[in-house]
Every structure is written in C-alpha cells, then in structure tokens.
C-alpha cells in the first residue's frame, strides 16, 4: 500500500438556490491523514462531506480524490465510505450482514462475507456478535458496527460525520482513542466532522475551522490553539479572554493595543503579520491559563489590575473570575498545586501574562456561545 489517497477541494462553492452553504473552500488533505472539520452547527460541514462522498456536486470548483477529478462520479463509484451522523445501519439485517453489505454488492460468496465480517467484528471488539440484530446493540456498539461496515468497503477515504455525537462523555472519549488506533492500523485517510473542539484537537493531524460556509484556518491542533488566524477561530477554539481596542504601537512581531483594560502588549498572529496597521481596530486574546498572579519585577509580562469576583474549584485547576478596568470580565485558570491563590472575593489583584501568549488579531466576528 502507498501512503494513502489524498483529497483536494479546489475552490469549491456549494449553493442551495441563493443560499451559499460553502464558499471558496480550498483544502488539501494528504493521504493517510486524520483530518477534521470543526465548526458550529449549520456552518456547512456535512455539506462539504456530501460533496466529497458524491451525494452532491459542487456548484463550482473541483473535488479530487487521489488526484482524480470526481465530477460526474456517483457515490457508489467513489473510493469513499461515509459514516452518517445518525449511522444509518440497516435495521432489518443482522449485524454481520450490515458489515458485509458492500461485499454482498460486489457479489462475494456468503461464506467469505461471513468470514470477513467476523474479522472486522474482532477489530471493533465485538467478536461473535454477528448474528444479533442492530436493535439489540448498545449505542456504542452500533457506532462500532457502523465503522466496521464502512471499513469493510475498503475505502481509500473514510468520511465520518459526527459519529460520536450521540454517545455519552465516557464512551465518546473511549471511542476517540479507538477510532484513532483503528485509523493508525488501517492507514487510510480519515475525514472527520465534529463541532466538538476537544475531539478535533486530540484526534487530528490537521483541523479546518469553519464559520458559516467559510474555512477560516487549516492547521494542526496546536497551531490552531496557539496561533489562531481570525478572531472567530480564537474565540471558537478553547476559552479565551478578549480585549478590544486600537493598535497604538507596532513592531515586527508585537503590538501594543489600547483597550478598556489598559494598554496590552501582545504578539501579532502570524496570519496578519505585516497587515496590521497603527490605529486599526483590533482584538487581543489571552487564554485563561496564560494568566497568573503577578510576581514583582518579572520581565516580558503584561499586567492588569483587577478585582476578584468569584472563584471556582474544578479539581485539577481552579478558575478565578475577575473584574478589570473598564468593567472587563477576565477569567484566569490556575493549576491546582495544593496552594490557594491567596486571594479572596473582593480582593484587588495584579495579574500578569506572558506577552508571547497573548495574540493580536484584527477585530472581527466572534463565535457565539
């Protein structure tokens, strides 16, 4: 086997009447990669997946799989297998018939289908359960059967549409690891859709963050988290404190932004380096965990004076909610080291952050909670 089959979206637009569901999507997914689309509900993730699997044709642009243009090639002819948001298992077939359906289509003899189904049942840790009906399985087991059914088709590209969304947290975490290990085992390209950022960040080699039909950023999880390319990505992925203001001073890599909370030093996001100008409307994003209680004289630190409003203990960390200058709300997360912050509600604190961990971006759309 080669390194796997890649998928390219080349300037893809998808319209439903006047409504533009996907605009100008350019994505390059390498063979064997675990690639995720992450975005809020209704942003066009399923639509993109349907264009890749062939259930709809892009209004404009090309979908290429393994370098081959897919225009005019139907879903039953493409080397993809789709795991539907609701699984879409066949309720009137036995589990093994479900799994081996693609082989039945190819006219493989029953005994061989049965054998292959058993192998896949082994892989998904459901050995010997082939004769059950789908309705006799638990949610997580059905999930795995859907994965097995898709794998049985020996696709080059496996498309997964929020396959874990219906599961409870524990099972979801378990299935994440399992999916990842299955992917490593079979070595095919996975395109995974989710609106759960934790899922996207932990599992993927690369993530595309979508907002209302537009892909804002494509990068690996760490880059998305540490170096977002738009204010939407910064606010959608993970938690972030946002301070809005105007750019006062600029160097090559850093800026000073005058905000309600005072003048804040921050690093310029790589995507807008050289584009940001003095006087621009800008947003500074600082993660809760980037804050700490200020120690006298530390260097490279930005500082904000704020009053403690509330504290929340969450086991491994605790969160301090502060009210900063100009009535800004700030969240600070401290690792639980056994000591307390030494502050109480109503105290005035000076908090500090590493200016490298604060990001400046042009003011723009934010993710709504």
């Amino acid at each position: 086997m080669s390194a796997g089959v890649g998928v390219e979206l080349d300037n893809v637009w998808i319209r439903f009447g006047n409504f533009i569901a996907v605009r100008e999507a350019n994505v390059n997914i390498a063979g064997g990669e675990f690639f995720s689309f992450l975005g809020p509900s209704g942003c066009g993730k399923t639509t993109i997946l349907r264009a890749v699997s062939g259930f709809l044709e892009p209004s404009d642009g090309n979908v290429r799989i393994g370098g081959r243009d897919m225009a005019g090639i139907g879903p039953n002819q493409r080397p993809t297998a789709l795991i539907f948001q609701n699984l879409a298992l066949f309720p009137l077939m036995k589990v093994w018939e479900n799994i081996a359906f693609s082989m039945e289509v190819r006219g493989v003899a029953s005994a061989e289908r049965r054998k292959r189904a058993e192998e896949l049942l082994e892989l998904i840790a459901l050995p010997g359960q082939g004769d059950k009906m789908v309705s006799e399985l638990s949610g997580g087991q059905r999930q795995r059967v859907a994965i097995a059914r898709a794998l049985c088709a020996q696709p080059d590209v496996l498309l997964l549409d929020e396959p874990l969304s219906a599961l409870d947290l524990k099972l979801r975490q378990h299935m994440r690891t399992e999916l990842r290990s299955i992917q490593k085992q079979v070595g095919i390209t996975f395109i995974y859709i989710t609106h759960d950022q934790g899922e996207a960040l932990t599992m993927s080699d690369n993530v595309a963050v979508m907002r209302a039909g537009v892909i804002d950023q494509i990068a690996d999880g760490q880059t998305i988290y540490d170096d977002p390319s738009t204010s939407f990505v910064a606010s959608f992925v993970g938690e972030n404190n946002m301070f809005r203001g105007t750019v006062k001073k600029l160097t090559k890599d850093a800026a000073v932004v005058a905000t309600d909370a005072g003048e804040l030093d921050a690093r310029i996001a790589s995507s807008v380096k050289g584009e940001l100008k003095s006087g621009d409307d800008a947003m500074v994003f600082i993660r809760p965990e980037a804050f700490g209680v200020a120690e006298a004289g530390a260097r490279g630190k930005g500082r904000i004076k704020a009053m403690v409003e509330n504290e929340e203990f969450e086991g491994q960390s605790y969160h301090v909610f502060l009210n900063g200058p100009g009535d800004t709300h700030i969240k600070m997360s401290l690792v639980n080291t056994g000591r307390t912050s030494g502050s109480a509600v109503g105290d005035n604190l000076t908090i500090a952050y590493d200016t490298k961990q604060a990001v400046v971006l042009p003011a723009g759309e934010l993710a709504s909670e």
């Binding site: 259930f55 298992l89 059914r149």
Partner: protein, 303 residues
C-alpha cells in the same frame, strides 16, 4: 382494564368500550354468524321455517362442489371454475396494483418535496370522491366502442375498427385495478415515508445499484405496508360486485355475481350464504398462507 379507564376517564372509557363492542359484535360477528347459520339450512318457504324440516345440513356446500342431483359432471364445473377464476383474477389485479403502486409510493415518499407531493396525493384522492358505481360507468364510457380510447386510436389511424374492450375484459381489469388503488398506495407510502433516507444513501455509498437498494433496504422495510395493501386489495377485489356487474363482458362472471344471483333472482338465501362463507374463508386462508410464505406476522400489518 383499570388502566384503560384511568387513561380515558369513566364516561369516555365506557363510551369507547360500548361503541367498539357494538361495532365488533353487532356489525361484524352477529351478521357473519347468522350467515353461517343460514348456510347450513334448507331453502324453506316461510311457513316451514322453525319446523321439524328446518334442520342443519350441508346441502348448500355440497351443491357448490358437486352441483345439482343428476349432474353429469363429477363436479359443479360452472361455479367452481368461476370461483377459481375470481381468485386468480383477484391475485392478478393485486400484483398489478402492487407493481403500479410501489414505484409511485416510493416516489411520493422519498423523492417529492412538500407542496408538490401533497398536490399529487390530492390528485390521487379526488377521483375517489365519485361514487364507485359512477366510476365504473365512467370506465365503461372510456372503454366503450365510441369511447375516448377507441376514438383516439381510430383518429390517429392506428386501428380501423373499434376494439371491444368490454368483451376482452380489459375494462373489467382496469376498473378493478383502479378501484382499490389507494388502499395499496397509502400503506406502502406510509411505510416508505418512515424509512430514513440516510439508509438509502448508505446503501448507495456502499456501491449498491438501485435495484439492490430496493431489494435489500426499501422493500424489507416496506413489507408490512406491502402486505397490508395486498391483503386489502385482494380481499376487496375478490369480493367486488359493482365493477364486474357493470364492466364485465357478457361471458365473464365473477363469483360475487353468482352469490348475488342466489340471494336476489334465485331467492335462495341459504345457498348464497354458503357461497359467501366459502369465498370469505378461502380468502382468509389464502392471505394467511401468503403471510406465512413471506414470513410476515399479523401484528406488522397493523403498523
């Protein structure tokens, strides 16, 4: 039982029970029982009813099987062949309706969106506002020697002489096929409508061609609907009277017409009852056998 009253309240619960009981006992069971009783009696003048001569016997069933005393044939060939022909024809009409309605129901349920679908359904229903007998006469006119079909065929020069659709029983089968088409479409439509579209797409994604999608996914799912449609159409077609009466050719006879003759012109109610009982029981047995053959449980039909 207590739960039933709890859920519906005392007054409504009693009302429902009484009405259902009335329906089942007075309108279904009692008439059928009296038919059954009738069928085992002699056709006596009113004066002798209830006298010693009025005893249970199987002469009417014997007549259906073997004909009158002194029948040169060993069976009642006329009645039995009409009986068989009726069943075969009803089966044929049922299969024809199924072949016609399944694609239509599938199309309505899966492919048509919103408003247009409702218009189509309405177009299907509206003709049934017209009385059954009028509809049969309409078919007679359409298929008549100067009807629209013959007129068109002659007008376009395809034929010179009008075709006698009535004599060829084309009108009869068309009329029968059309009469209960809704009872076929709607159960299948209901079944297919509840089929998750993603299942069809999943099958397609697995590479299945359209016929396999129907064979393995849609038809198994729609089976209860198909069964209930076929059962109703078969029963009603076998028991139809108006269409054969009006559209039947001079040589064709429907078993119900024989029953009708015994009751009406023949004035022999016991014999008519016996014939009717045989028709009913045969239909029931036939349907049960079919359900057995296709592994369908009674409960599924009610879905």
């Amino acid at each position: 039982m207590a739960k039933f009253f709890e859920r519906n309240g005392g007054l409504l619960g009693t009302y429902l029970l009484v009405m259902v009981g009335f329906w089942v006992i007075v309108l279904i069971i009692l008439p059928q029982l009296s038919m059954l009783d009738f069928s085992f009696r002699y056709n006596l003048p009113p004066a002798q009813v209830g006298t010693d001569a009025d005893v249970w016997n199987i002469s009417n069933y014997h007549f259906l099987l073997f004909g009158a005393e002194g029948n040169p044939e060993s069976y009642n060939v006329v009645d039995m062949s009409v009986f068989l022909k009726t069943l075969v024809a009803a089966l044929f009409v049922t299969l024809f309706d199924l072949a016609l309605c399944y694609p239509l129901a599938y199309y309505l349920a899966q492919s048509v969106s919103g408003g247009f679908g409702r218009v189509l359904v309405l177009l299907l229903i509206i003709p049934y506002w017209v009385n059954e007998i009028l509809r049969a006469f309409a078919f007679r006119i359409i298929f008549g020697s100067s009807g629209i079909i013959n007129a068109t065929l002659i007008g376009t020069g395809i034929i010179d002489e009008p075709i006698d659709f009535i004599r060829a029983d084309v009108a009869l089968y068309a009329g029968l096929g059309y009469a209960y088409i809704l009872l076929m479409i709607f159960p299948i439509y209901n079944a297919i409508e509840s089929l998750d579209r993603n299942q069809i797409e999943a099958a397609r994604d697995m590479g299945a061609p359209w016929w396999r999608i129907h064979w393995r996914v849609v038809i198994p799912f729609a089976k209860p609907g198909i069964t209930s449609g076929c059962t109703m159409v078969f029963m009603l077609t076998a028991g139809a009277l108006a269409a054969p009466q009006i559209l039947g050719g001079p040589s064709s006879l429907w078993f119900t017409q024989i029953i009708y003759q015994w009751f009406n012109t023949g004035g022999n109610w016991p014999r008519g009852s016996a014939y009717a009982v045989v028709l009913l029981l045969t239909c029931i047995v036939f349907v049960l056998a079919m359900m057995r053959l296709f592994k369908i449980k009674m409960g599924e039909i009610g879905k």
